[in-house]
């Protein structure tokens, strides 16, 4: 019979929490920068010039049809040979942004396309500038429409950050790896790490639905 030994896990629990904090920072950072990338690409895809549109299409298809692990290897091992040396944490953030950008673009684009043409025409008729129309008439309702999809993409992103531990970034999974190799209590360490991920994903889901109730409460006329 196997004797479970959680003592080393408890002793190293602070280490794990520190890792969890970096996981949250990486996820939130990648989400915010990735959203800027997504909005730009969604704009380029819906109303940019044709060459730009093709480049964005290629970017989205390549990222969505290859594993994140391969993308991170490509970036982490590839960039130094171009003379660009990134620390594991920055390489991880960069890879996460590139990855999230592709998924985010498709989500935002779907939102933009859900805004009816008459709305934009009404905006033009009211004399709003192009930027104002994009910001108030297209982006705001579009974001509300895609909010649920974006939040589940965020959870997916957060779980995906565990993969950056392979290039020894300092995230939760990597903290788990360190603790595991120091204590050899593999199963105990990883079950604890897994539970922390579970708590984080449940916590963020709850947070997002609370935000949704507050931020998008204004009535829809239908």
């Amino acid at each position: 019979m196997y004797n479970f030994n959680f003592e080393p896990v408890l002793a190293g629990f602070n280490q794990l929490l520190l890792g969890a904090w970096l996981t949250i920072q990486l996820s939130v950072g990648a989400m915010l920068i990735g959203l800027v990338v997504s909005i730009f690409c969604a704009w380029g895809k819906t109303s940019g010039p044709t060459p730009l549109r093709l480049v964005i299409d290629a970017y989205i298809e390549i990222i969505r049809n290859t594993p994140f692990l391969v993308q991170i290897f490509f970036i982490f091992f590839g960039l130094p040979s171009l003379g660009l040396r990134l620390s594991p944490n920055s390489a991880a953030l960069f890879a996460l942004v590139v990855n999230f950008g592709a998924y985010g673009t498709e989500i935002i684009r779907a939102g933009i396309e859900s805004v009816q043409k008459g709305q934009v025409e009404a905006g033009t008729a009211l004399g709003l500038s192009k930027v104002q129309i994009f910001r108030y008439i297209i982006m705001k309702p579009a974001l509300r429409t895609v909010y649920p999809a974006l939040t589940s993409q965020f959870i997916y992103l957060m779980l995906n950050t565990s993969v950056v531990s392979v290039i020894s970034a300092d995230d939760l999974a990597a903290a788990g790896n360190d603790l595991q190799s120091a204590t050899f209590a593999s199963f105990e360490v990883y079950i604890t790490v897994t539970l922390i991920y579970l708590v984080m994903s449940i916590g963020f889901s709850a947070l997002f639905s609370a935000i949704e109730k507050r931020a998008f409460k204004y009535p829809l006329s239908r």
Binding site: P67, F73, F77, T194, Y197
Partner: protein, 219 residues
């Protein structure tokens, strides 16, 4: 010979390693299909406990990283007295993972069937098995095809994580070759290209079916 050049032999070693990726994906997809059906049926069941267990199973697998699921099965095998074997660990973990995701996808498809169908089938005297077999599932499976193919793409990409527990499939083979050749762009470019060739046609197919289906069901 410390560093060898990346040439055709290395290229073909990587391409051939794709067979393990395909095998692992296929096994996990079939196993996950069977498990997913059980989970989906339990999730929509009238009985309380199967429903609770299925919900918990889905929550846990969708709320934790696939990498941790792989680690837990990999190290957990040791606890239950089995020898650690990356092949078996990867197969079990990916099958469980696929069961949870397919279960959740198929639950949605089953619930999309109007309740009148179930009531009508019951009124005709069909019991649970025949009702599911002849009335609900055939209709639900039509909706399910597109998202299921979409998930298959996710599963193929997910098999890359088996590399981390030491299973030599496409990604791990790339890592090994990269350690010998130090040409990361060529090596991981090739690896990425092989994944792309496997996944992209499926993605396009899923998208087409989705469009076709939504056109068929609107009015």
């Amino acid at each position: 010979m410390l560093i060898r050049a990346f040439g055709w032999p290395e290229f073909w070693i990587i391409v051939y390693a794709a067979r393990w990726t395909i095998a692992l994906s296929a096994i996990a997809f079939i196993g996950g299909g069977i498990g997913g059906l059980v989970i989906a049926l339990a999730r929509v069941s009238d009985l309380k406990y199967p429903r609770l267990i299925a919900t918990g199973f889905i929550r846990i697998f969708q709320g934790t990283p696939l990498l941790m699921q792989l680690f837990l099965v990999f190290f957990g095998m040791n606890i239950f007295g089995f020898a650690i074997n990356p092949w078996i660990a990867a197969t079990i973990a990916l099958t469980l993972h696929a069961s949870a995701f397919l279960g959740e996808i198929w639950r949605g498809c089953i619930e999309a069937i109007p309740p009148g169908q179930k009531e009508a089938a019951t009124a005709l005297g069909l019991r649970y098995f025949n009702r599911m077999r002849y009335v609900i599932l055939p209709q639900a499976s039509r909706i399910a095809v597109a998202p299921t193919v979409g998930f298959l793409v996710q599963l193929i990409k997910g098999t890359s994580l088996a590399a981390i527990i030491g299973f030599t499939e496409l990604t791990r083979q790339g890592q090994i070759i990269n350690n010998a050749t130090f040409s990361p762009f060529l090596v991981f470019g090739t690896v990425a290209a092989v994944y792309f060739i496997l996944c992209w046609p499926l993605s396009v197919l899923a998208r087409r079916m989705e469009v076709k289906f939504s056109r068929a069901t609107t009015r």
